[in-house]
Amino acid sequence: MLDSKKAYNHFVLLVKERPPGDFALTLIDSLLHVLKETQETTRQGLLHEMKDNTNYLTENLINVEGLTRKSSLALHTLGRFFHHYITSKLSGLSDTSLEVIRSKLVARVEDLREFVMSSRGKVLSSALEFIKDGITIFVHGNSPLVEFLLVEAAVKHNKKFSVIVSEARPDCEGYALTKSLLAVGIAARLVVDAAVAYALEEADIVLVGAETVVETGGIINGIGTYTCALCAKMLKKPFYVVCESFKFARMYPLTQKDLPEIVKDRKTLPLFRSRETDDVTNLPVLSPLCDYTPPDLVTLLFTDMGIFTPVSYTHLRAHETGRNLVCRLLLEKKK
């Protein structure tokens, strides 16, 4: 009896146990759990079970408590990536015993897990030399990767810099980021979204994370990123994006209207956070969750596979094997 909800249930469990933010590893762990406990006796059956579980999990991510709708976009991409990864690895195994196949596959997935786990450190080493002493960094929203980067740079590498954080309404993620930066002694200041252009005058660089990097080399990230990017371009400030390579998706938006459904509209989530909330709940609103920043506004992409201009990113994607759409470089076993 095929249980497609196994991975999903395990995922919900792990999300409760683990600290918030690191969902990529949790996703892989849930799928690994299914793989380890599979009762399937044929290759096709195994593949089918993994596919069903991955699909169910990625489609129901929005129902998971503790997971924001935005992160579900990145995880969706990771889920598809995982599926292609498994399919291609499976087709490369010529063993007849399913036990052997299963254990080899588990080993490959654990390689992937290790890769994902180490991607943070690699992004850090890419980006570190761009965080110079004495600069002012403007950050929009709260990407866990950006937080990790700034904290490590200040604490482990003794860099001295100051940060201006934008509020990032309506979720106001900026508050949490400011607090964690202050806690490690970084000079951080909070600013309202409307003051982005004003604050950028003082900033030297802009640093943001990304939910997804799309085919053009542009990014999909929390609402307000596009605004920051446009201001940065006008004011001639470099706009840097940090993101792991498993967030590269096969999407090709041309305009804001082409964003995936899941991030186009907040639907029922509360829109405004203020004392005057009661007055605004009945007004018609335009409430996107994320926006698309085109590649001509992005200066550099810092990833675990190196530093890319949004242009050369497409050369990276080109290393994809025929139909499997998974970056060949990512598939190489790490020595």
Binding site: E215, T216, G217, Y252, L254, T255, P295, V311, S312, R317
Partner: protein, 339 residues
């Protein structure tokens, strides 16, 4: 020396490196023994009776295939003879009109395959070449266009306003096959007014606004997408297309409207070019003038649209950014090498 004279000298310097348009082609004798179909083709190309990169490529290859099939020489020296025949035909057609980079690179490959063929292949060579040409037309033009249209149909939404320039075969087919409700703005350009053909063919099923380039800035605000065809696409992501395309793309970029280029992969070239004038084709300057007018006219056929004005290229292999063209070329040569 007056200002007019200086003007003429300056203008000539701009284009003096380009091949002059030969006015007396009609009266020249074709080389002895040239197949009449080729002579006919040469004249048609010359007189703009066949226009458009796809149409010209198709016509050239179909005619070439016919004369290869009609080869009646000795089987012993067939390899050499056909090779020489190919060279003569190419040289003659080039005097009529430049062939186009896609056709040229295919014919180079064809010549290579003759060279690599078995010495004893005999009359089997004609069949081999004929099949090769047939496959190319089938895969790289017909099926490629089907796939491009399949990809392109998803890019049109109801109530869109789409702008197109001149007349591209694949864009016209795409718009004709689209069942959604949209409005089309066709932008046209003297001297050949190719957009009129497109307007005539589509007017029955699509509401059309027809204008010339001078009107584009006015309409661009209302446009959702710009659809363009290609003569070729270069390794630096630049687009070579009908003169005027660069202006349209520039205006579209200014208004932040997406520019989509529909291009088969056989049109991808390894060349790079930075501007429209270093390499171009001159057509009959008289087409721009009233009869009897003695003004110096420059009738350029193509222009170059830089990479950053193009948002997406739709090929039979999928949707790619213009920066991926050299990558695509590498992959295609690799795939071809393994076949």
């Amino acid at each position: 020396i007056n200002a007019e004279y200086m003007g003429t000298i300056k203008m000539s310097n701009l284009i003096s490196h380009l091949e002059k348009f030969e006015v007396n082609f009609q009266n020249k004798d074709a080389p002895k023994g040239m197949h009449p179909d080729i002579i006919c083709l040469g004249h048609k190309l010359r007189n703009n009776q066949i226009t458009g990169t796809n149409a010209r490529c198709f016509a050239i290859l179909i005619t070439l295939r016919k004369i290869i099939e009609e080869y009646r020489g000795s089987p012993e020296t067939i390899n050499k003879n056909i090779s020489v025949l190919l060279d003569e035909v190419r040289a003659y057609l080039r005097t009529a009109r430049k062939l186009g980079s896609g056709v040229e690179s295919y014919l180079d490959n064809l010549k290579l395959s003759i060279f690599n063929s078995n010495r004893d292949i005999g009359l089997g060579l004609t069949k081999k070449l004929s099949d090769d040409i047939g496959d190319f037309i089938d895969q790289k033009i017909r099926k490629a266009d089907d796939l491009i249209i399949k990809n392109g149909l998803e890019l049109i939404n109801d109530d869109d306003v789409i702008l197109t320039f001149g007349r591209s075969y694949v864009v016209e087919r795409l718009l004709r096959e689209c069942k959604k409700k949209f409005h089309l703005i066709i932008v046209d350009n003297p001297p050949y007014y190719e957009g009129r053909q497109m307007a005539l063919r589509l007017a029955r099923q699509i509401p059309i606004t027809y204008t010339c380039i001078s009107g584009v800035a006015y309409f661009m605000r209302k446009v959702q997408k710009v659809f363009l065809g290609a003569s070729s696409m270069l390794s630096n992501g630049a687009l070579i297309s009908r003169v005027g395309t660069a202006m349209i793309s520039c205006i579209a970029h200014m208004y932040r409207k997406p520019v989509l280029v529909f291009c088969e992969t056989y049109k991808f070239s390894e060349k790079t070019q930075l501007d429209s004038l270093s390499e171009n084709e001159l057509a009959d300057p008289q087409a721009l003038l009233e009869p009897g007018d003695k003004t110096t006219a420059i009738n350029l056929r193509y222009d170059l649209t830089p990479r950053n004005y193009i948002n997406m290229v739709i090929t039979e292999t999928g949707l790619i950014p213009p920066t991926s063209i050299p990558v695509m070329l590498r992959e295609l040569t690799r795939i071809q090498g393994t076949n």
